[in-house]
């Protein structure tokens, strides 16, 4: 899966050395919390879209602002926003479809 950061796939930081397989690809993260957040986010996108696989994710934002993202799968594309706390998704919203806060 393609991501838009050179550093940690979630926060772009280059400290740390934590690797996890995401969508079949060994991916670099700065720490386990970023990896948890990223993995949970990917699973949430798949659940919301029904996609079997994700080809790319591009992220913009940070912890306090939350993150605006674009994900693609084949020729399909989805935009969404999410926040996490300690790796757990606390807010997730597909763009243009209203909020769906995590209960």
């Amino acid at each position: 899966m393609k991501t838009n950061y050179e550093g940690c796939a979630l926060c772009d930081g280059t400290w740390g050395d934590y690797w996890r397989e995401i969508e079949g690809k060994n991916t670099f993260f700065c720490c386990s919390i970023c990896a948890d957040a990223f993995e949970n986010m990917v699973n949430r996108v798949k659940k919301e879209t029904g996609w079997k696989k994700i080809d790319s994710v591009s992220i913009e934002g940070n912890y306090s602002k939350g993150r605006d993202c674009v994900a693609t799968s084949g020729d399909k594309r989805v935009e969404y926003f999410f926040r996490h706390e300690d790796g757990v998704i606390t807010e997730f919203r597909l763009k243009g479809q209203g909020t769906s806060p995590v209960p």
Binding site: D12, W15, G16, Y18, C31, I33, C34
Partner: protein
């Protein structure tokens, strides 16, 4: 002595190299707490240990402006920058739910506040510190210059937006508030009184009128709200804080600077301040979360 501002581990000396090498090795082991701290305060980009040490030296350096101004600028950078704390954003256009969340969590904060001040009072031998803390406690519970007690102003603000006093008093604080209160209780009851003092009184900067002079992009609230607030009780509460906290934190920071120099505790005081600020950050998020809870319920 010094402590790690990220995890609270204590160090026997206050050399910058001790702190920077601790961070360096924690980052090598991908520790989330230390990496997030580095990302926020130093750099998101990994560097060599010597370079990190230089960055830390720079970060802790207060020689140009003095300790008090260093604290003010660091505080502003954390709460009022381009990407401010979520509760600071809420306060730019507060709803009744913002105020409700504020009142409920802050009630618990104020109870701990009085205890913290009392611990400091009881644990210092300097009478000017004792007087300062006595003044704080008395304002909180008895009011000043004919004003109602600060805690009553808070509860009245809640009532004015439909939040029953009994509900506030019997509420259980949210987790981030609990975590912060426990921390302040620990510091004030067990650590040096000066570390305690900087840990709590630096937080009054949140309502300082002059934050824009220290580089803030935002203020705690827009002054217009004092003319056109949600209710007159909201105005009264914010006004009291606006006028008092600025006075308090300025005075406290002067005392802290003086005694930190005298007791050769400057670096330690800086670290305690940094650590406390992170708990306060979480506490403000709890005010926001509580406000959301009221919004969802009503």
């Amino acid at each position: 002595m010094n402590l790690c501002p990220a995890c609270g581990e204590k160090f026997l000396d206050d050399e910058i190299s001790t702190i920077s090498s601790h961070f360096y090795s924690m980052a090598l082991s991908s520790d989330p707490t230390h990496i997030m701290w580095l990302n926020r305060n130093i750099s998101k980009t990994k560097m060599q240990q010597y370079a990190l040490n230089d960055k830390f030296t720079e970060f802790y350096d207060f020689s140009k402006e003095g300790l008090s101004m260093w604290i003010k600028k660091r505080f502003v950078a954390r709460f009022f920058n381009d990407d401010p704390n979520v509760f600071v954003l809420d306060m730019q256009q507060p709803s009744v739910y913002t105020i409700m969340g504020y009142v409920t969590e802050h009630y618990h904060f104020l109870k701990q506040w009085v205890k913290s001040c009392a611990y400091i009072l009881g644990r210092t031998d300097f009478s000017e510190i004792q007087k300062y803390e006595f003044d704080n406690i008395s304002e909180e519970y008895f009011g000043k210059d004919g004003q109602p007690a600060h805690v009553d102003l808070l509860l009245q603000m809640g009532e004015s937006v439909g939040l029953k006093k009994g509900e506030v008093i019997s509420s259980v604080p949210l987790e981030k508030t609990v975590r912060a209160l426990k921390y302040w209780n620990h510091v004030c009851s067990s650590e040096h009184w000066l570390d305690a003092m900087v840990s709590i009184h630096s937080l009054e900067l949140i309502a300082d009128k002059n934050v824009k002079d220290y580089g803030a992009k935002y203020a705690y609230f827009k002054p217009e709200i004092l003319n056109d607030g949600i209710t007159k009780e909201v105005v009264q509460f914010l006004k009291a804080g606006y006028e008092a906290d600025q006075y308090h934190s300025g005075d406290a920071l002067k005392l802290i600077e003086k005694y930190a120099g005298q007791l050769k505790m400057e670096r330690e005081v800086q670290s305690y301040f940094l650590r406390s600020m992170d708990f306060f950050y979480g506490y403000l998020e709890a005010r926001h979360e509580r406000g959301k809870m009221y919004e969802d319920k009503l």
